[in-house]
């Protein structure tokens, strides 16, 4: 008997040893990156996940892209021109760009790619953003002419977003599975994806920006435990992490081999209120809730600091205007307003997506602050899927804590509010302003319209606008020039080097 068990054990051990031929690491050009989860898919047109686009940024390019300051600059398109009515866009494509599979990039690729995302049967989640394109013409290999049905201000931003990635037409035609095997023109070539373990990519030697990328390869290590990520960063097993919980800052700052950079994100942190549910349909109650929250404290403790906001846009946005004088932290005022509104002991629930620990932490703080002004508030964690369908889409909630990711164009953020989007707040004036602003290309004119709408939103407070948090980018000290793309928060490894 005993013998048999020993044999079994030995066999298992041998098996392990043979499976795991230790991976040869090292070389200054390899960056180990700590990622907390998997991308959903590697097909840029079939997803909406932030984390997914963060990874895809290295495989694909777009016609235009944001630079370090957030301005849209040429990428695969060398230049472009717009007709006076803003309906016809002519793009001059970059010559000599080659896809990872060796195919040369031409206007055909743009057309086929855009056709793909527009196809109804393909059911891309971002299809509606491309529907305004009525006609795609390719007069020659390096020219694309896109005609819109109506003026659409965010159009360039749409092309610069992750889902505007250009795919090789040949592979699209042959039905290539981009979800598992991405092929683009990006700075890195996809090598391998072992789900829940790692994604590896190697330098694209034929990248169209000469001299870039600098790294030989990047490995995304998928490490779900935050504590493990941090320990990995401190011990050098990981060179950079996706995200740092502010709670870990003291340890990281104490470590000389780790550098932490603080940047303002483009996130809009809020606690949304369901404006259709009494008594939250009463403005006084919403005002009371806003008065009850010490926004800076919540930002500091839950999100590691940031800039307090006062309306529904990230505080660093060019269209942002400050209205923080409306509802300063004032618990007495809150209690008084609640008394006036006669809220009494009614029970409220804060629904929080369980997969976002920072929001959960913020929710615990909100809950305490609201209780302090006499509201009866409970927490309920839900998984992301339930949050999307039941809370966000179904409107089954009183309060919910969430952060809205930044967009390249304010319309991406604001569209639909005032007309019942998940906070169920109805305001025809705002709805109309937002709708009309889409067709206005002039910045000043557009900003005026948005400021008007944002002020109403700031006054009527369908949300608690917490503000925009800081992002802490922690890397080993030898990592130079690891960038995060502004507004869309994706990783940009092109300039990164290891010293």
């Amino acid at each position: 008997m005993k013998k048999r068990f020993i044999t079994m054990f030995l066999a298992a051990a041998l098996l392990t040893a043979s499976v795991g031929v230790a991976f040869a690491q090292g070389g200054s050009g390899v960056l180990n990156f700590g990622l907390s989860g998997n991308p959903d898919t590697l097909d840029p047109q079939k997803t909406s996940g932030t984390l997914t686009f963060q990874v895809l940024k290295s495989f694909y390019d777009t016609l235009v892209e944001p630079d370090v300051t957030g301005n849209l600059v040429p990428a695969l398109a060398e230049s472009w021109s717009v007709s006076a009515d803003g309906l016809v866009w002519t793009f001059k494509l970059r010559a000599g760009v080659v896809f990872h599979n060796g195919q040369t990039f031409t206007s055909k690729d743009v057309k086929v790619t855009l056709d793909r995302i527009q196809a109804e049967a393909f059911a891309s989640p971002k299809r509606s953003e491309f529907v305004p394109i009525k006609k795609i013409e390719t007069p020659n290999d390096l020219t694309v002419v896109l005609s819109l049905g109506s003026a659409y201000a965010p159009f360039l931003a749409t092309l610069a977003s992750g889902w505007g990635a250009i795919l090789p037409s040949g592979l699209i035609a042959s039905g290539h599975n981009f979800a598992a095997q991405p092929v683009g023109t990006g700075p890195f070539k996809f090598e391998r994806w072992v789900r829940d373990n790692k994604i590896t990519m190697v330098r694209n030697d034929k990248y169209w920006i000469k001299g870039l990328p600098k790294l030989a390869r990047v490995e995304f290590n998928i490490v779900p435990e935050r504590a493990v990520q941090i320990q990995g960063l401190m011990s050098g097993a990981i060179e950079a992490v996706e995200f740092v919980d502010p709670e870990d800052l003291p340890i990281l700052n104490a470590n000389p081999k780790v550098t932490v950079k603080k940047e303002l994100t483009s996130l809009i942190m809020v606690m949304a209120m369901n404006n259709s549910r009494p008594p939250l349909n009463d403005l006084r109650v919403r005002q009371a809730v806003n008065h009850a929250i010490d926004k800076q404290l919540v930002l500091d403790i839950a999100y590691g600091g940031g800039k307090v906001g006062s309306t529904f846009l990230d505080t660093g946005n060019a269209y942002y205007t400050d209205f923080s004088s409306f509802y300063p932290y004032n618990p007495e005022k809150a209690m008084q307003l609640l008394k006036e509104a006669g809220v009494g002991n009614k029970e409220f629930t804060i629904h929080v997506p369980q997969n976002y620990p920072l929001h959960v932490k913020a929710a615990e703080l909100y809950q305490q602050m609201l209780e302090k002004v006499g509201m009866n508030v409970k927490l309920q964690l839900v998984d992301w899927s339930t949050w999307l369908s039941s809370v966000f889409s179904g409107g089954n909630y009183d309060f919910t804590v969430i952060g809205h990711t930044g967009k390249l164009d304010p319309d991406g953020t604001l569209a639909g509010y005032g007309a019942g989007k998940y906070v169920k707040w109805q305001n025809p004036v705002v709805a109309d302003l937002l709708k009309r602003a889409v067709g206005v290309s002039d910045f000043a004119a557009r900003k005026k319209m948005y400021t008007q709408a944002l002020e109403i939103m700031a006054r009527e407070v369908p949300f608690v606008y917490l503000g925009t948090s800081y992002r802490y980018v922690a890397t080993r000290s030898n990592v130079v020039d690891f960038r995060m793309t502004p507004n869309i928060d994706t990783f940009d490894f092109r300039w990164t080097e290891l010293k």
Binding site: D196, V223, G232
Partner: protein
């Protein structure tokens, strides 16, 4: 003949079990709030886009039609593709399974290597220091949640004393700590069982015979009693294996291992129905197979069963 019938009967039972559990899960996961189309679409998608995605996924059809559709596919051994990433479910599962299997096997092996000898000594030397050590060991094993043990082990043996890697699944060294965390808790159970089984065997009449034959105490205990005492351990090992598969989810999470458990958890969170279905079927089959193997092994080792 008898063996064939036995196998056939077990196989039928296995199929029935799998059918029941997967049907149950089929309806349960579809009644859970949550919609894979919304996961794909995200927060900013338009309702029309969501409808289109639903149509593409086929989740807009009635439950009954979806059920029979699924049943038809399963009968043809088609597990389908995942909804979110459109990868073949079976491939994904088979890719991830070896690691989880290895983890479970190692966990069991550690459990057995530690627990069986300790259990035997505890039983032979009842109420001795060994026995109390065994008692404390097994109770701690049951009382410490495995995720805790895992994190502690990581902090001590990967951070404080960097003997083992922190994360990843590239070499044998990566599996040592996970296997220990997984095996420890189950070792407790196996230890208790071994001890009870050995104590029971030592009180049996044939032990008196063995002594009356003039055998040494060593032979009486470690030959005559032990062989009988080990029999039930085989059965329990099969059942323990099921716990290992389940417990692996947590261990995989702590140690960043790309195992079946996390895949499955992801499936549940993302409402990726084909992935959940496939996972359920696969896990149930594996569990049943392992128990079936344990039964066969048991019948080989236990002469009494073989004839019946």
């Amino acid at each position: 003949m008898d063996v064939l019938r036995f196998i056939a009967r077990r196989f039928c039972r296995l199929l029935l079990t799998v059918f029941i559990i997967s049907t149950l899960v089929f309806f349960v996961v579809r009644v859970i709030p949550g919609d894979p189309a919304m996961i794909i679409a995200g927060m900013d998608a338009s309702p029309e886009d969501i409808m289109a995605i639903r149509a593409r996924l086929g989740t807009d059809r009635s439950l009954v039609i979806q059920y029979f559709d699924w049943l038809w596919d399963i009968v043809h051994l088609d597990f389908g593709t995942t909804l979110i990433s459109e990868e073949p479910v079976l491939t994904l599962i088979l890719e991830r399974f070896p690691l989880t299997l290895l983890l479970a096997v190692l966990g069991i092996a550690i459990g057995i290597v530690v627990a069986v000898p300790l259990g035997v000594i505890s039983a032979v030397k009842r109420w001795s220091a060994w026995d109390y050590f065994g008692l404390v060991f097994s109770q701690l094993g049951m009382a410490i949640p495995s995720f805790w043990l895992g994190i502690l082990l990581l902090l001590i043996l990967a951070v404080r004393f960097p003997i083992f890697p922190l994360f990843g699944a590239d070499s044998a060294a990566h599996l040592v700590l996970p296997a220990i965390s997984l095996g420890f808790a189950r070792a407790a159970v196996i230890l208790r069982l071994t001890r009870a089984s050995m104590v029971e065997e030592l009180s049996k009449e044939y032990i008196i015979t063995a002594r009356a034959k003039g055998l040494t105490e060593r032979m009486v205990k470690y030959k005559h009693a032990l062989k009988n005492a080990l029999l039930p351990i085989i059965t329990i090992t099969g059942i323990e294996f099921g716990y290992m598969l389940g417990g692996a989810i947590i261990i995989e999470q702590v140690f960043s291992l790309p195992g079946l458990g996390r895949l499955f958890l992801y499936g549940i969170y993302q409402r990726d129905f084909p992935l959940i279905q496939g996972g359920v079927i696969f896990v149930a089959i594996v569990f049943s197979l392992v128990n079936f193997l344990a039964d066969i092994l048991y019948s080989i080792v236990n002469p009494k069963i073989r004839v019946e």
